[in-house]
């Protein structure tokens, strides 16, 4: 009898109700989700010549005509490119071709340009990246300036400084010396791009094409105004200017 009485003692439940806590958490999470953005915006560097009138006409035409491509950004997200071999031919509306955005379109055009294909440069950059990423983390910081310098060299057309996913130090140093003395030799032809956005194209198009320049490792590109020489090309193809 005495034993039974003992078992009747009330046991305290130690269970805590977490529902209000969860409610509060939900509120806090919703707050943070609404108030913040997860990603920091990316920055694209753009350097323009300080003043238009300071740029001489001869500086503009430094690249050979055959290594040049002119890209027109037009109304309604349309994209045209213009390639001529001889300077005299510039202005003939027949050479204007339309292409699409992205990998299949404009990137393919830039990659397989007849005289200065960027795929050679892109391939060299991939090899340089492979070399750099294979380095241990501690070394990457120390080699950062070499990486950036090598990238400039590749963009200028010195694609032979990389071989089999390795940076060839001897060649790198030779090019480095040549660059300082201003007597570079043995360069692959590199593409020069004239980007000419029409007034009715939008900002998205401009950023996309600048991005394409980075993807294709093009060192020489300029955002230019439409001038009188472009007029016959555009009007000859019935492209709206305004």
């Amino acid at each position: 009898m005495a034993k039974k009485k003992e078992s009747k003692q009330k046991k305290m439940t130690t269970r805590v109700d977490f529902t209000p806590m969860v409610d509060m958490m939900m509120l806090l999470i919703t707050f943070f989700m609404l108030v913040g953005s997860l990603q920091k915006p990316q920055a694209m560097h753009l350097t323009m010549p300080a003043k238009d009138d300071n740029m001489k006409a001869e500086d503009k035409d430094k690249s050979k005509t055959e290594n040049t491509i002119t890209i027109y950004l037009a109304d309604d997200n349309k994209l045209y490119y213009y390639i001529v071999d001889k300077k005299e031919d510039f202005g003939n509306p027949e050479f204007l071709k339309e292409t699409t955005w992205g990998k299949e379109g404009i990137r393919e055009v830039l990659r397989n340009h007849r005289h200065a294909p960027t795929k050679v440069i892109m391939d060299a950059k991939d090899q340089l990246d492979a070399w750099f990423n294979a380095l241990p983390k501690t070394q990457q910081e120390a080699q950062d300036s070499i990486y950036n310098r090598a990238l400039i060299m590749i963009k200028k057309g010195h694609v032979d400084i990389v071989e089999n996913n390795e940076l060839v130090k001897a060649k790198y140093e030779k090019v480095d010396k040549d660059m300082k003395n201003g007597e570079e030799t043995n360069m692959k032809p590199t593409l020069a791009v004239n980007i000419k956005p029409l007034d009715n194209s939008n900002y998205d198009n401009l950023v996309t094409i600048l991005d394409e320049m980075q993807i294709c490792c093009i060192g020489k590109y300029v955002i230019d105004k439409i001038n009188d020489n472009d007029m016959p090309i555009l009007t000859g193809n019935g492209i709206k200017l305004q």
Binding site: A43, H45, Y203, L206
Partner: protein, 223 residues
């Protein structure tokens, strides 16, 4: 047949795991959050695959909305204050201390300076509506000898404001501040016509500002 006795079930659900997950999520959001600035005019920036991030301090944001209106903001309130004083002096307009404070609290400048006194008399809702429809004028002021536009004056005033603030710092403080001058960020909407962007860039080139950062969103590279 007797009545069917419905057994009462205990519906206690253990919330502990749920609460665990919540805490994890909350910690994640708290650590990764970047507070978005409360700007009056917001734009949707285009995407790019660049890796570089926008610097978080000492920036001058030039916003161009789809209609081509130009607005300006900076993360340094001191700079903005100094620039505002300079602009009021240049354009022979005056505001009292309270009005200045409310104006700075808007975070974005997008009203011609001459209209400011009238603008400050309006209610907050009307002010926001007005900012969305006006923008900083980009046409050159004929009365001025150098034919600068109000937009150019603003950029110069902002740059000088930051420089003044920086020069007033002690040497020890200077080492903590990484940027010696304001960086120009161009923040335009996807749909902004190129002509509007061209105009802003041309105006900046005119006052010898030739380096900018275009603000974009991260986009994946299609392989």
């Amino acid at each position: 047949m007797g009545k069917i006795k419905i057994k009462k079930n205990d519906v206690w659900i253990d919330m502990t795991p749920m609460s665990d997950v919540m805490v994890l999520l909350l910690t994640f959001f708290m650590l990764s959050v970047n507070f978005t600035k409360n700007e009056v005019v917001k734009v949707i920036t285009p995407g790019s695959t660049t890796k570089a991030k926008v610097s978080s301090s000492a920036v001058l944001d030039i916003t161009i909305d789809p209609e081509g209106r130009v607005l300006m903001s900076t993360d340094k309130t001191v700079t903005m204050e100094k620039a505002l004083d300079q602009m009021l002096k240049d354009r022979e307009t005056s505001l009292n201390a309270d009005e200045k404070k409310t104006l700075l609290a808007l975070n974005q400048i997008g009203i011609p300076v001459k209209n400011l006194p009238e603008f400050m008399k309006k209610s907050h809702e009307d002010q926001i509506k007005l900012v969305k429809t006006m923008g900083i004028p980009t046409d050159s002021i004929q009365a001025r000898e150098d034919k600068m536009s109000e937009f150019q004056l603003w950029v110069k005033a902002m740059k000088n404001g930051y420089k003044e603030w920086y020069n007033d710092l002690s040497d020890a403080e200077k080492t903590e501040v990484s940027a010696t001058k304001l960086e120009i960020n161009i923040k335009a909407d996807k749909e902004t016509p190129y002509s509007a962007v061209k105009l802003v860039i041309a105006e900046l080139q005119d006052i010898n500002e030739s380096r900018y950062k275009l603000v974009t969103q991260a986009k994946k590279l299609e392989e």
